[in-house]
Amino acid sequence: MASAEARRMRRRVANAAMLGLTAAATVLTVSVLFFILGYLVYQGGSSVSLSFFTELPKPVGEAGGGMANAIVGSGKLLLIATLTGVPIGFLAGVYVAEFASPVPAFVLRYATDLLNGVPSIVVGIFVYALIVLPMKQFSTVAGGVALGIIMIPIALRSTEEYLRSVPKSLREASLALGASRATTIVRVIVPAASGGIVTALMLNLARVAGETAPLLFTALNNRFWSRGWLDPTASLPVMIFTYAIAPYPDWHRQAWAAGLVLLGLVLVTNIGARWLLARRRRAGA
């Protein structure tokens, strides 16, 4: 009797202990996010000023200055990335969802997943060989294309997913009215899925906005304004990297400010996209 009692006790203790550990793991993981956020605000909050957004970097030793060129540079890079990566991903996604028979669809999906797993630094080398070498210069275009390639897999998979989630009845209604498949796709299916696709695009942009490695030897960096699209350009993530590993305290302050701005943009975009998605789901249900 006593041993059965002891055994039950032991099982209960093990249960509580292990479940307690999983809770502790959760608290630890989530607190990392709050620590990162809190520490960036603590360190960078005082350095984010108006001049951070409007001025060029100052030479070493001079206090002040900003990262206006890096902010604009990041914007230009993201624009090119969207223009190159999203159409490829979107149209290929339409193919997988609407036209492909099972085998090509499987092959394409698998290739996309593999492409998604390519380390971003390797994408940098690829674009270096593809664009920088032939053009003999680092450029905004090269950096943008590198980010665009990184955007393709998510653009493709999200397009496919949201096109498939369009109710069959909508599709059949359009076809029954005599519309061709192309018309049905363009006028009915894509509009019905557009909300989800746009949300996925926002998440996709937030992801590549922080990418540093593929820009190191495609867009390079620039301490001045980048003219046009064929010059090297500064970007927020590369600036953070350069400033963080430099030995100047003033640069460190700028790095914290840039880090806070970048993380702020990324998180706000993320939360905004998810909020839109949740609202649409609730409206649909």
Partner: protein
């Protein structure tokens, strides 16, 4: 599909094709198909470009490139072993820490937490995955490196265990592994959570009805059921860790040698590419870096191919 149906009616095929063309179906088909081909081409071109851009390295060093430990750009001696070693050590150490942590979180979220808490926490974990690598590096330089130097590394060195000796630099394999751990935990959590949620409810209810505690149900029934999928999640995280660049570059110490202590500085494949690519002056040096990229690419491809296959198998078998 449409074309085979047309082939049966040979006479009507031509006009039908034309009418389909006019109605836009074939145009839409061909257009989207062309872009699908572009995606396949890009994936294939990666493999080809990286290999073809480093001919001197493969000619001069051959497979010796993979296990030679000398990396001396001045003497034009290139061996990638220190970087392969550094990448593997930091990645596996990170997995060792991140798997229990991540699976633990996933268990808490699926088996224990109320739905609202679970969903809110999953959102926070997803946000953690969205934090850019360079910001992890920034914080690690400011917070983790000094903490390792003053507190953790002296304490570990004092234990006298093997591989934990030497002076405390702050930076090094262990520091890089710790940063990697927190960077890959979100991936393990989100995939494991999905896999665990795919375990049928009846499995849990049967175990609980027989008198199992929640933990026994999880450990003996739910986890074994989801085993393959969790292994897939682990491989996926490994792929991430292998290719992770910025945060590792900022804290691994950047010394191209095979270190004898986990506390000492080392180097990783991605880090050496990030640091030396724009500074490479000779063709051989640049090609050696591209070759390192090729090795890294092939390694992550294999790991990811296995991961995807495992996740596919489990989520499909759970559904049917």
């Amino acid at each position: 599909m449409t074309t085979t149906a047309l082939a049966g009616r040979a006479g009507a095929a031509r006009t039908t094709f034309l009418s389909r063309l006019r109605r836009g179906d074939e145009v839409a088909y061909l257009l989207t198909f062309a872009f699908a081909l572009v995606v396949l081409l890009i994936t294939a071109a990666f493999f080809w470009q990286l290999y073809a851009q480093s001919p001197i390295v493969w000619d001069r060093f051959g497979t010796r490139f993979l296990y030679d430990t000398a990396w001396d750009p001045v003497a034009e001696q290139f061996g990638a072993a220190p970087f392969i070693f550094g990448t593997l050590v930091t990645s596996f150490l990170a997995l060792l820490l991140a798997v229990p942590l991540g699976v633990g979180v996933a268990i808490f979220l699926t088996e224990l937490a109320p739905r609202r808490v679970s969903e809110a926490t999953a959102l926070l974990v997803d946000l953690l995955a969205a934090v850019p690598s360079v910001i992890y590096g920034l914080i690690a330089i400011a917070v983790l490196v000094p903490f390792m130097r003053t507190t953790v590394q002296p304490a570990l060195a004092a234990t006298g265990l093997p591989f934990l000796g030497g002076p405390a630099y702050g930076v090094g394999y262990l520091t890089a592994s710790l940063v990697l751990t927190f960077m890959i935990v979100p991936f393990i959590v989100s995939v494991s959570r999905e896999v665990l949620m795919a375990v049928p409810r009846e499995q849990r209810e049967a175990a609980l009805a027989l008198g199992s505690t929640t933990w026994e149900t999880t450990w003996r029934i739910v986890l074994p059921f989801a085993r393959l999928g969790i292994v897939g999640a682990v491989f996926l995280a490994l792929g991430r860790a292998l290719g992770e660049t910025m945060a590792v570059t900022m804290v691994i110490g950047n010394r191209p040698e095979i270190g004898h202590s986990l506390l000492g500085p080392g180097y990783s494949m991605a880090a050496v590419i990030a640091n030396e690519f724009t500074e490479a002056t000779s063709d051989v040096h640049l090609q050696a870096l591209i070759a390192v990229g090729f090795v890294l690419f092939v390694m992550t491809m294999i790991i990811n191919a296995v991961a995807r296959a495992l996740i596919l198998v489990t989520t499909r078998s759970a559904r049917s």
